[in-house]
């Protein structure tokens, strides 16, 4: 699942062009970013508010099992790191 700040029509174009088949949500008023307290004020293009980079792993009960709020914009969780955590927490595999 992906969330973008672009409107649904724009996301539909992108999904068509890129061939994405996963759920692609639209958050034009940054509600999800605000809800998770991740707003980085005036840091976006043209002084707009954008999200700080962050990752959350959520289990089927809706509980956060792992979170990464990086210290540096340039340092993000790596895919292999997240896959290992999914394995360690036994959250992967068929349900």
């Amino acid at each position: 699942m992906a969330i973008s700040v672009d409107p649904p029509e724009r996301n539909r174009e992108l999904c068509g062009k890129q061939g994405y088949t996963f759920t692609f949500l639209s958050d034009v008023s940054s509600d999800a970013i605000r809800l998770y307290d991740l707003v980085h004020e005036k840091a976006g293009p043209g002084g707009t508010d954008i999200s700080r980079p962050a990752e959350f792993l959520i289990d089927s009960q809706g509980t956060v099992r792992w979170a990464n709020l990086t210290d540096s914009i340039a340092v993000r969780a790596r895919p292999e790191q997240v896959l290992k955590i999914v394995d360690d927490l036994k959250l992967g595999g068929p349900s």
Partner: protein, 150 residues
């Protein structure tokens, strides 16, 4: 005798200039050279060292080598560039909001409902519910608040 061109000095300056250029074009693409920019710091170090040796011989052997004035200027520029890089990586990129309200491990992830590409509302919590067609719900979800390409 005509004094010699101080090649060491200018070669060092070129290496210093190459450090931020190669960081932005090459090293930033790989986490191992981006998260801690050790390769770029080494290139900066090598370049500055060459410049220091070049400037030293310009002052010690001014009858042979040129570059006392120009060398002082480019070395200052090189050090300034290095400082700018350090400030960007270790200060500017770390200016992040406190995010004290972000959900912690063990807490419930705030649920949200947003429109998909067809305008239909979709909730995070709905992902985990079994589908009407008999399909099982998701076992876990990874939320990535993504910012720019890395």
């Amino acid at each position: 005798m005509k004094r010699r061109w101080n090649a060491l000095l200018w070669a060092g300056f070129l290496v210093v200039l190459a450090a931020p250029v190669t960081y932005l074009t090459v090293f930033v693409r790989f986490p191992v050279t981006r998260d801690l920019p050790w390769a770029t710091l080494l290139i900066f170090g090598a370049g500055l060292l060459l410049m220091v040796f070049g400037l030293r011989r310009a002052f010690r052997e001014p009858q042979i080598y040129r570059g006392k004035i120009s060398g002082s200027i480019v070395l200052t520029a090189g050090v300034a560039l290095f400082g700018l890089f350090l400030v960007s990586i270790f200060y500017t990129l770390r200016q992040l909001p406190p995010s004290n309200g972000a959900p912690r491990v063990g807490q419930k992830a705030p649920d949200f409902t947003l429109p998909d590409t067809d305008g239909n509302p979709v909730s995070l919590s709905k992902l985990f519910e079994a589908e009407a067609g008999g399909g099982a719900g998701a076992r876990a979800a990874l939320l990535i608040f993504y910012r720019g390409y890395w």
